[in-house]
């Protein structure tokens, strides 16, 4: 399973998440993007351990992070790291991140590289 960035067919600018008009060149032909899988390697830009969770999470705390990926894109995801530090090398896996009723949602989870 992959999570995709969107590359503008006109100027090559990468976006994550999807948007309908390129932020760089403003090309407004819909869906004129090539999906490109997000790289898995990156470093921690910032992070938090959330103690007050949305009611559907059945864990005591939840690690969340913004990671700068090797291609320069940033991604928000969950973090399962015991001693996180800014700038730390991490590796992402696409895993189950939330269950809403019978719906299972997948997303990026970061581990120490």
């Amino acid at each position: 399973m992959e999570i995709y960035a969107y590359k503008c067919k006109r100027c090559g600018h990468l976006h994550y998440p999807y948007r309908m008009v390129c932020r760089n060149c403003g090309e407004n032909e819909h869906n004129e993007f090539d999906p490109v899988p997000l790289p898995r390697e990156g470093k921690l830009l910032t992070f938090t351990v959330l103690h007050s969770l949305p009611p559907d999470f059945e864990v005591p705390t939840l690690g969340l992070a913004i990671v700068e990926l090797t291609n320069g894109l940033r991604v928000t995801g969950q973090m399962r790291i015991d001693a996180p530090a800014a700038g730390m090398a991490v590796r992402g896996e696409v895993e189950l991140v939330r269950t809403e009723g019978y719906d299972e949602r997948f997303g990026m989870v970061f581990y120490p590289a």
Partner: protein, 391 residues
């Protein structure tokens, strides 16, 4: 454009309120009508974010205009996340400035304590990106926490600075009879004592319980009118001199410099530009301190202090009552409370109150120019208002 004046104001207590949402919106409107002596208005804007989701009530404006027996005046509900209040004031400004209406009533209301705190946090989190943020369990406190960590690294803000904002604003609320929190706190109690971690646990590291605004019910109202109407009323003249709004990326991680709040900067620049004033002209400000870090950063982005020096001004006491530029003397969102749709209007209430020199114990002496900053999303939709006292 015509000049627009704030002629009437009203507010409820911000706390847990046991009456219906439509009445929370209508009660401050009755106060504001009484305040200016008007009994008819051309139009109503009702600011509310959670009616549909939290209170199972949509199209709130239709209920409010009727319960006030102001039909057949036009009425609309304005939803712009936590900036709904100032957005509704902006719509009222446009209606009067354009000449379409002479008197517009803007009321904001929220009844969030109908559900528990976790459900409220979850409801507010629905303003984040569904696939790139919300799905992970991202909440507003967690976005603020990740932002705080970057700000600490880059500019030397510490947990002590955050606690100083909490103490300043929560204790300021003791002088505001309408404020939610009426309990004094100390740095000792929330940061330094052995009990501090019990008194003040982490909500989302490094943000603690006392860094976050409470969940409140409440309503506030402001009546806007043309100069012709305003001059006939027996109230001090306060002009809504500047209105600015700016947006930023929906997703927080897409911002080029993750420690900038460009929508705050842009909204303030536009508001000052329209008013023909500068940050140095401001005597009193109400900033959107939903989290303590935001007061520090917003005080920089609106232009009061250079970037990275907001916490230094805080240390020097410049932003406290009696300082050079008092911020959130009402208690702010932190002390007064944050019923999301009402907040932007409550900020305007406080500034008009101050510019009329009617604020009693918390009056900023000689205040002539005031600013409000209403922060929607995590900084993706921001409205700034500048008010000026006239003779």
């Amino acid at each position: 454009m015509r000049d627009v004046y704030a002629v009437g104001i009203g507010i409820t207590s911000f706390t847990r309120l046991e009456y219906p949402l439509s009445e929370i919106a209508a009660y401050p409107a009755m106060m504001a009508l009484k305040d200016c002596g008007l009994s008819e208005v051309d139009h109503l804007y009702v600011a509310n974010m959670g009616g549909g989701r939290v209170n199972h009530q949509t199209a709130l404006a239709s209920a409010v205009v009727d319960t006030l027996s102001l039909t057949p005046a036009g009425a609309e509900t304005i939803e712009n996340g936590p900036a709904s209040g100032a957005s509704a004031i902006k719509q009222g400004f446009l209606a009067v400035a354009s000449g379409m209406h002479d008197v517009v009533l803007v009321t904001g209301a929220e009844r969030m304590r109908e559900v528990n705190n976790l459900e409220v946090t979850e409801f507010v989190a629905t303003l984040t990106h569904p696939l790139a943020e919300y799905v992970y369990g991202v909440t507003l406190p967690s976005l603020a926490a990740m932002f705080t960590r970057l700000y600490m690294e880059r500019y030397g803000v510490t947990e002590r600075h955050l606690a100083m904002v909490a103490v300043k604003n929560q204790n300021a609320a003791l002088k505001n009879e309408f404020a939610h929190l009426q309990q004094p706190i100390t740095i000792e109690g929330i940061l330094d004592s052995p009990e501090a971690m019990t008194n003040n646990p982490y909500v989302s590291e490094p943000l603690r319980f006392f860094d976050c605004c409470p969940v409140s019910d409440g309503g506030a109202c402001i009546i806007l009118a043309s100069e012709e109407v305003a001059r006939k009323l027996d109230r001090p003249l306060v002009r809504l001199a500047g209105v600015g709004q700016a947006t930023d990326t929906h997703v927080v991680h897409e911002r080029e410099s993750p420690t900038d709040l460009l929508a705050v900067r842009g909204a303030a620049e536009k508001a000052f530009g329209m008013a023909g004033l500068t940050p140095g002209d401001v005597d009193v400000a109400e900033l959107h301190d939903a989290f303590t870090i935001l007061e520090i950063v917003e005080s920089e982005e609106v232009g009061f202090f250079p970037k990275g020096e907001g916490h230094v001004a805080l240390e020097r006491g410049e932003t406290a009552l009696g300082g050079k530029l008092p911020i959130n003397v009402s208690g702010g969102l932190k002390g007064r409370g944050h019923p999301v749709g009402a907040t932007g209007v409550a900020q305007a209430y406080e500034i008009v109150h101050q510019l009329r020199s009617e604020a009693g114990e918390r009056q900023v002496s000689g205040a002539r120019v005031g600013l409000t900053l209403n922060f929607g999303g995590f900084g993706n939709n921001v409205v700034c208002l500048v008010f000026a006292r006239e003779e």
